[in-house]
Symmetry: C2
Subunit: 220 residues, 2 copies
């Protein structure tokens, strides 16, 4: 077994490259250079080649990469050559946004378990899936064999949702609630914080007022 040290950032970029390649394919493009991928993804060309080099050789020197082939290779690396069934806890606005999000469908994610505690929502069908109360998370998740859980509940309910998901047997959690969750070591946890991203902007906008200069690395 090869042992590689793949940076987390490499994985996120591979996902971006792949989506850009899908788009290029629709446009009928056959081959592409690392420079062009870099432009599409907003990164350095050397970065693109380095990222790919963790997983093998995918291009042809002097020529570039085959758009379709490279896309498939990356999808394979990301394990997107299989179908994934996902559980979602919290069918509020954010939960609805996630389940309906075009990009998740396009990339083969299937929401097979949906939970919410609103009595008006429980029992409702969402694209063939019944909304269930969160007390049934453990039971239903393990029945449906969901390996990934997405949390879109308010902050104060998020840890409870995570605990239930873990009990039900998920191996990975994507948390959108604005709170840091504690999960067992072996569970993959990824936290996406909407407010933080907005607050990084406010920091930068008033940077002159406060007299902090930006590091060179911020300059695009």
């Amino acid at each position: 077994m090869r042992t590689l040290k793949v940076p987390e950032a490499t994985i996120t970029r591979l996902s971006v490259y792949s989506r850009y390649l899908s788009k290029l394919k629709k446009q009928g493009k056959i081959t592409i250079s690392s420079t062009d991928i870099a432009v599409g993804a907003g990164v350095n060309p050397a970065q693109v080649r380095k990222d790919l080099s963790f997983f093998g050789e995918f291009g042809t020197r002097g020529v570039g990469y085959d758009v379709d082939q490279l896309n498939w290779d990356i999808l394979k690396i990301l394990s997107l050559d299989e179908e994934w069934t996902v559980a979602l806890v919290g069918f509020g606005h954010l939960g609805q946004a996630v389940t309906m999000h075009r990009v998740f469908k396009e990339r083969g994610f299937n929401f097979t378990s949906i939970f919410d505690n609103d009595p008006n929502k429980i029992g409702t069908m969402v694209e063939g899936v019944e909304i269930l109360p969160s007390e049934r998370i453990e039971e239903v998740i393990s029945k449906n064999k969901n390996r990934i859980g997405i949390i879109t509940v308010p902050a104060d309910a998020a840890q409870g949702a995570a605990d239930a998901l873990v009990k039900g047997g998920v191996q990975a959690i994507l948390n959108f609630a604005p709170i840091h969750l504690t999960v067992p070591q072996e569970i993959e946890l990824r936290e996406v914080d909407l407010a933080v991203n907005l607050e990084v902007l406010t920091f930068h906008l008033d940077i002159q007022r406060q007299g902090y200069s930006r590091p060179l690395s911020f300059i695009r």
Copy 2:
């Protein structure tokens, strides 16, 4: 003027610390150590102290930090001591999720311009704000003096939305569309990619199958 090299990651963590401090304050906690902040934010204690050190000295040796004071100090650093008015383009599920999101209200963000091209939505009021067609972005943004724009339209409409926001005079853009946008250098751009975050999880879950080992830095 002091010249500091503040890592982008420091800013995101400050935002997380601040939210955790708000929570602690509600719980009646008066002082806190860097170790406890670190636990709440899921980072290293040295990291917390280092992050703060870019901006000054906020604690008392041997004692710790005053919860409320530190929170205000961080809010000041992030420029959250002022009100921010925000423009949103795309009032689909994701746009609704963002405007309704509790955390944005709590942190003082005010959506004063909302755009969507759905004829059924145009003219509708959302908490006192009328939904307008996106051809009016430039005009309305500059009238409302929005400095920040949030993009929650589908990928193929995102660049157009960004261009209009820039023409209207926004200084920062938060992009949720799954595509890399091109904006003038002086515009702060932050891209939050929902699909990417899910695909990082699928990569990790099938890592054994493929035989890639995870770097030590991944181990929590």
